[in-house]
């Protein structure tokens, strides 16, 4: 038995894991180690497992994932910056039996698209929203995001994000960069959201949990009539955080997660008691 070789194992009948067939052959343009790729994979796996690829219409954001439409083998629409929830509303209202999801980053969903996010959630559209929070603007080169942590250095907060002006020149205490926005907790307060959760993809265990959450967010839409299913995924941006992919994941656990704690916030329309 110990004679078994790698060649003997790598046979179609022994396959236990491979990337979803619902991802196109196009290689991701994302940086090495970027969570976007992992999250794309999970969404594709869920759509494939639920067998809903002929009825799914995705909406891509502006940001690093602007060309997400190239990677999923399902119909896709590209939105203007922040407008993905409005697009999803438009599609779902005229094709109520289709499965519609948005894929948005923190700048798209929580800054320029805040209005669309809040009102789409508050109307209770029967859609799925995937929100990737890496605390920074990736595509434009690492500027401050609404979710940038206090003290975090970005291209537009080179001395660290400061909610109020620091000491000096006599203006201390006056408004400056403002506070990091926990928009996921905010939308959970709205009666129009059904399922609100925060997940991560930095480790195999987290990836498996995140997949279950994404699956629930699609299943709810499939079997429900109203209510936004909102999945935040705390992710990395090693390029703009200026770290190796492995260090970025470590930094995420130590710095992002204390402010953005993981877990379900609202399930079946009820806030989860902590």
């Amino acid at each position: 038995m110990s004679e078994i070789t790698v060649k003997d194992i790598i046979k179609p009948e022994n396959l236990v894991y491979q990337k979803s067939k619902l991802l196109t052959e196009k290689p991701f343009h994302y940086c090495p180690g970027c969570g976007h790729g992992t999250i794309h994979r999970l969404i594709a796996e869920v759509i494939e497992e639920l067998g809903i690829d002929e009825d799914t219409i995705g909406v891509a954001p502006v940001g690093c994932a602007v060309m997400a439409y190239d990677y999923f083998d399902v119909d896709f629409q590209e939105a203007a910056h922040g407008r993905a929830p409005a697009l999803a509303t438009g599609i779902k209202r005229v094709w109520p039996n289709k499965i519609v999801f948005t894929y948005q980053g923190d700048g798209d969903l929580a800054a320029i698209g805040t209005c669309e996010t809040i009102h789409t959630c508050n109307r209770g559209e029967n859609i799925t929203m995937i929100f990737v929070n890496n605390g920074i603007y990736g595509m434009t080169g690492g500027q401050m995001a609404p979710t940038t942590l206090e003290g975090m250095k970005t291209a537009t907060t080179p001395y660290g994000r400061k909610a109020t002006l620091p000491q000096g020149a006599g203006f201390e205490g006056m408004p400056n960069n403002g506070y990091p926005l926990r928009i996921t907790e905010l939308v959970a307060q709205l009666p129009g959201t059904k399922y609100v959760t925060r997940q991560a993809v930095y480790s195999p265990a987290m990836v498996r949990k995140a997949k279950q959450a994404i699956k629930k967010a699609f299943e709810n839409q499939l079997h429900g009539k109203s209510g936004v299913n909102f999945v935040e995924i705390v992710s990395n941006c090693n390029s703009n955080w200026k770290m190796s992919p492995v260090d970025a994941n470590k930094w995420l656990v130590e710095n992002m997660l204390p402010f953005y704690p993981l877990g379900d916030i609202k399930v079946d329309g009820e806030l989860v008691k902590k």
């Binding site: 002929e54 219409i57 190239d70 438009g90 005229v94 094709w95």
Partner: protein, 361 residues
């Protein structure tokens, strides 16, 4: 057939949309066009035909809902007035880039800024010259009556789907608010989902396994492909210019001097023609019905026919006059007369302007 009714222009537009078989209206209230969404909400079109009516959180959201539902093959429209249409320009340029058919009505009020809620034609440039960023055009229809507010819904949707582009009904506060009799078309059925899938293979309605997925986007970072896409759009606009010019001529057969006016200005200029003719002046009216594509050749034909001068009558400080002058190309006199700020010119002052600025002593 049809049904005779007395209605406001805005209401006629809304009723015509239901009867045409429009699938969805996404809007946001703004004076002087709020009657459109109010009428639609009151009529409960979801029960009448299955038409969706949604009051969005903003004009931005509304136009982006139009983008998406149009990109999914449905007949979708919105309406607004000047400041709201400025907000919608973001969506409209994406609609142009992604080649999405849709209809939007602009019931123009005075600007700039919040301006006034009174009638105006000061958004001619915005409607006819693109409006947002990038090289693009929208088909622009200019109704001059409540009847045309209704009729142009069908025409606008037909043109929008023929060319896969946005079509604008450029109205104004006067046409939108005034009541006239209107003959409404009979109810048409909405297209079925199956018909849409068959007729519009480009639409994102969920791809069939084994067929390529559809992508609706205005983005392409490859310069060669993006240049080709822009050339394709321009080729489409040349087709529109060749095929879709619409205009009306009144008393132009023997005219020596011609008013050029659209919308509510055309109604007034028509009276000015009558007053002028009573005085023995050989005046006529050219009323562009499509503002883009513009009836350039009609103006040139009038010059060939002996017209010695044109007066562009507008509720603006002079916008359409630029297209009149481009058509005239210096061959005869072409001047502008307009009132603004919500004041509508009288037929007498329009005729007076023709005498002073064009005919001379």
């Amino acid at each position: 057939m049809g049904e005779l009714k007395l209605m406001k222009g805005n209401e006629a537009l809304a009723e015509a949309a239901i009867r045409y078989g429009c699938d969805a209206y996404f809007g946001y209230p703004i004076t002087p066009q709020s009657e459109v969404i109010e009428y639609l909400s009151e009529q409960n079109p979801y029960e009448r035909t299955g038409m969706v009516v949604l009051q969005a959180e903003s004009e931005l959201a509304a136009i982006n809902m139009v983008y998406a539902a149009g990109a999914a093959g449905k007949r979708v429209m919105t309406s607004s007035s000047s400041p709201g249409v400025s907000l919608k320009q973001e969506g409209i340029t994406y609609i142009a880039g992604a080649e999405i058919p849709c209809l939007y009505a602009d019931v123009v009020r005075g600007g700039p800024g919040l301006g006034t809620i009174q009638p105006s034609q000061a958004d001619y440039f915005q409607a006819c010259k693109g409006g947002g960023h990038g090289d693009y055009k929208n088909i622009v229809l200019a109704p001059a009556s409540v009847q045309e507010m209704a009729d142009f819904v069908a025409l606008g949707f037909d043109l929008a789907f023929k060319y896969r582009m946005a079509c604008c009904i450029l109205s104004d506060g006067a046409i939108g608010q005034m009541m006239e009799k209107v003959v409404l078309a009979d109810q048409r059925p909405r297209m079925t989902d199956e018909e849409i899938k068959e007729k519009y293979p480009w639409a994102t309605t969920g791809r069939k396994r084994g067929t390529p997925h559809r992508i609706i986007t205005s983005l392409d970072l490859d310069s060669n492909r993006m240049e080709a896409h822009n050339r394709h759009l321009q080729e489409k606009y040349r087709q529109v210019e060749a095929n879709e010019v619409r205009f009306e001529e009144i008393n132009c057969e023997d005219a020596e001097y011609v008013f050029v006016a659209y919308g509510s200005s055309a109604r007034i200029a028509q009276k000015s023609v009558q007053l002028g003719r009573e005085e023995g002046l050989k005046v006529g009216l050219l009323r562009p019905i499509t503002l883009y594509p513009y009836p350039t050749k009609a103006i040139q034909a009038l010059i060939d026919n002996g017209v010695k001068g044109f007066l562009s009558v507008e509720l603006s400080c002079g916008q359409m006059i630029e297209d009149v002058r481009l058509a005239v190309n210096g061959r005869v006199k072409a001047e502008h007369f307009g009132r603004v700020g919500g004041i509508i010119h009288t037929p007498e002052e329009v005729l007076e302007a023709m005498k002073k600025q064009i005919i001379g002593e």
